[in-house]
């Protein structure tokens, strides 16, 4: 279960990314990705997807999921960095997930609360 205490992690992480995007590329990884442009961010998404796939195969053989969790976290993180490039954040994804997954109550709420 996703703990109540961490339910706002995505929201806070998106706020951090939006702030760092404006920062000094010398000091911030997020700022450096944005300074290098959209293709560089998209290359990272391709890389992290490949690493997720390989880590899943490793995890199936080893029974250890720590590497896999790390790779999915990297994939989602770079997805959020890419969304920030378009001035979007994770809320749009959560609303779409609710809508597509037929979570009817959730869908209604998401539609009500996102612009």
């Amino acid at each position: 279960m996703i703990p109540d205490d961490s339910s706002r992690i995505l929201e806070q992480l998106c706020a951090v990314i939006a702030e760092r995007k404006q920062g000094d590329p010398e000091c911030s990884y997020v700022a450096s990705l944005h300074a290098r442009g959209l293709n560089k961010i998209l290359e990272k998404i391709g890389e992290e997807a490949t690493e997720t796939i390989l880590a899943a195969r490793d995890s199936e053989q080893s029974g250890d999921s720590a590497e896999l969790v790390g790779e999915v976290a990297d994939l989602w993180f770079h997805s959020l960095v890419m969304l920030a490039y378009f001035d979007l954040d994770g809320s749009a994804i959560l609303a779409e997930l609710a809508r597509r997954s037929g979570l009817s109550g959730l869908e209604e709420k998401a539609n009500r609360t996102t612009p």
Copy 2:
């Protein structure tokens, strides 16, 4: 901002996926993916990553982000389906995102509340 009302979407979606994984592959997309095995789930992650990359390039040209949001939602959804294959869910990813991103308060909370 991620609306308060939708903050539990990920948690509820993971519960739905975990339940559907056990279901009839004829009736449930999630069950059919699990019945076809890990490679089929990983192929979907590769496909959705590529479609996300192409949608981002389209979005940059068109200024319309609806397709992009849909592709990232698909990528995250199939990530969650893959995690369910390993009996994991989104909580592990949120905890790792908090830890890696140096969200110190969040990290502390995530460490406190995840096993």
Copy 3:
């Protein structure tokens, strides 16, 4: 070793692809990909790359390379279909491979014989 008799396979395959590209999308897979546009061709490259990666992991476990050979062939085939979209063919790739790989004699020949 690549047999002498098959050394012109790539050349002949590129000629076939260039011809089929102009054909009826109802009758030709190559024509149907071109009719659906560049994104559809690029999605296929992403899919075949993922399938190649998974087949390599399978091959390492099983010791059987037939599936892997088929997936790399698919990846190269769709690369050639994509090059045809830009009115290019495999000769440009072979010349670049010679140049980059420091095959000095080959590089010299490739530079001499490509326009």
Copy 4:
């Protein structure tokens, strides 16, 4: 057209890769990839596939295909490095391309001349 003089580039490149695979990882890129293992080689295939996709979109906008040719060459090169990991080379791919593409004469030749 693929020039006659360059028709054996793939054969010679495969021979170079097979030889370098045995070499000093400090001196040879191919040897260093093999020393780092199959996952590292597969990560490179994923990376080069993503870069090919992005270069194709760039090329469509700019009309310049030099970057695209370089990325496809990188993708094919790393495919050959991966095949060498399994003691295979480009001949298996050419034979399969001939067989799948219904190049009947070529297929017959390829079947005749490959083991």
